[in-house]
């Protein structure tokens, strides 16, 4: 079983996930309400990507983790806990306390390159799929299989 996500505010980073071998998600633009950035960091290599949902590269992500990527890391740590994020991205924190800052420091120290795999479209469609869950109707017919998924007080 997986521990449930921890509650967090969603305005800045409405979507973050650990999937497809990446930490990836969607970050709101600070200036334009209609625009979002799709940001990601690959596990092991820490290669980073950031572009708008229309595939325009982010000006801040040249040789550096831009503010969107930093926000993504911060919210991933809130949602999943720093340890789970570090484990998923395969970051060796040595003796540092697991946190958003120590994660950024450890990953950036390896001089990661830009990720040209073009994951933005996939990530954005996963975000739309995520949003579509809100549109699904509840049912009062029993789902006996949910007995296999108990709640837990443990947090991620």
């Amino acid at each position: 079983m997986i521990a449930p996500a921890r509650p967090r505010k969603l305005a800045k980073v409405p979507f973050v996930e650990l999937a497809d071998g990446r930490m990836q998600g969607v970050v709101s633009s600070g200036s334009d309400i209609g625009r979002v950035y799709v940001s990601s960091i690959a596990a092991s290599t820490y290669a980073y990507g950031c572009s708008t949902n229309n595939n325009r590269p982010c000006g801040g992500a040249r040789g550096w983790y831009c503010n969107h990527i930093r926000a993504l890391i911060g919210e991933a740590v809130l949602q999943y806990g720093a340890e789970r994020v570090a484990r998923y991205l395969k970051v060796d924190l040595a003796d540092a306390e697991p946190s958003g800052d120590s994660l950024i420091d450890a990953m950036f120290a390896t001089r990661p390159g830009a990720d040209h795999s073009g994951a933005a479209a996939t990530v954005f469609s996963r975000f739309l799929r995520h949003l579509a869950y809100l549109e699904l109707a509840p049912t009062t017919a029993p789902l006996p299989e949910m007995q296999w998924f108990p709640p837990t007080r443990a947090v991620a």
Binding site: M1, P7, L131, A137, L143, P144, P151, T152, R153
Partner: protein, 463 residues
Amino acid sequence: MRTDLLTESVDGLDEALAAVDAFDGALAAGLLRPQPAQAAGLTELADAVAGTPLADRVAEAAEKAAAGAAGEDHFVALAAARTALLGSVHDALAHRVGEATGRGRAAADVPAPTAREAVNLLAAARSWLSDLARCGWQGMDHEVVSGAAQVVSAMLPDPELRRLATLLDGFAAELAASCPGASLERVPERRWADLWARAVLLTVPGAAELPETGTLTGRLLPLGVDVQEHATAVQAQVHAVFEPADGSAARLVRAGVSVPKPDTVVGAGLWQLLRPHLSLLEAVGEGRSMELTDMPVTAEGDLLWDNERARAGESADAFVTARVALPTATDGPTAPLDRHPSRIAVPVFLEGYAARQDDDESLYFDLAGSALAVDADRIPSASPLTPEAVAKSGACIGLLRWDAGRFVLQALAVESTVRKKAVALHAGAWAGGTTDKAGVKAEKAATDAVKVLRERAGKLLRK
């Protein structure tokens, strides 16, 4: 309540579970190119059902699978054999629970399926599950596991397919979090084989149907709320005693509501999604009964809730219901395919026990010389009930379950004595809303989260 019976051994249980484990081991390693040990595991499963109507089909399936040549129908046969074995385990355990509670159980009268589901989607799901069986947990990777996403997305909007879709969604997310399988230190073999086998059976047209078999009119007295959740779905089930208006015998029923959800909707947000569709949740929060008129019900005693057919009744203390009405009510039957130890969740009432915490913090209720294990983790997070309160309680309404080889009690509500007064805490106290300070804060945070997501959905999904 004879809790002493719950710790006594059950005849044949170890043998049945050994055959299940043998199959689960074979499945874990993948059935693409099975090794001799896997072939032995498959044979052990087939031998265990040799005296049943499944014998020939399962023997053939085991042989094909051992040769790495199993087709989808063979996987269905193997899943059926495993399910039949666990069904017998369920029956033995349910019988034992009946002896302990002293209550009667109604006979199951389940109608034949009509099989109206979209068959192409069921086939797609079965194909994914077959791929999974060939890889095994040790051989699975992101590519295989992500194959479920499309099937799940197509299935979720269809109410007829919701059972299978919700199961596959939770199962695939759990597998994805454990990929690649080759690097796993510990594999939950029994659990994943449970989920796999149930999913395989639900791909058989008609298997997921739990149709209406009648209607109920009378008074509903809630005992408590049980919540189940995975990252993208939640279900709340109210366990209650139903007293028919015609004066016939009282019976135990359930009323539930479930909904798929984004993984960031948690805690109080779950109650918010659920409460508009099950007015009973508000009644539970207020400590009220409800009056039902022609409420549809399944053979298992699950109400197919319709807010129009229920109205709020008089106040009804769950502990009075548990002390007075529960002992003489009849338990509902279990549909043939649902028979599995994980499905056991029987309402019980206990008092006069001594709560005891072990060095490793596991909790027990000592009662008349026997110790009943308590699962104090199985409590929703948006609730005033806490493991600490359970550990200090003197009376408990709970669900008797069977987990990891033993009976355990899940607390739905507890009573404890504070300054010589009995104080009750209910797991579902906040189901209908709350004025509790911490609860109000959690509700506000959840409202904000859903608002942000709905705003985004409004902009992006309808472009």
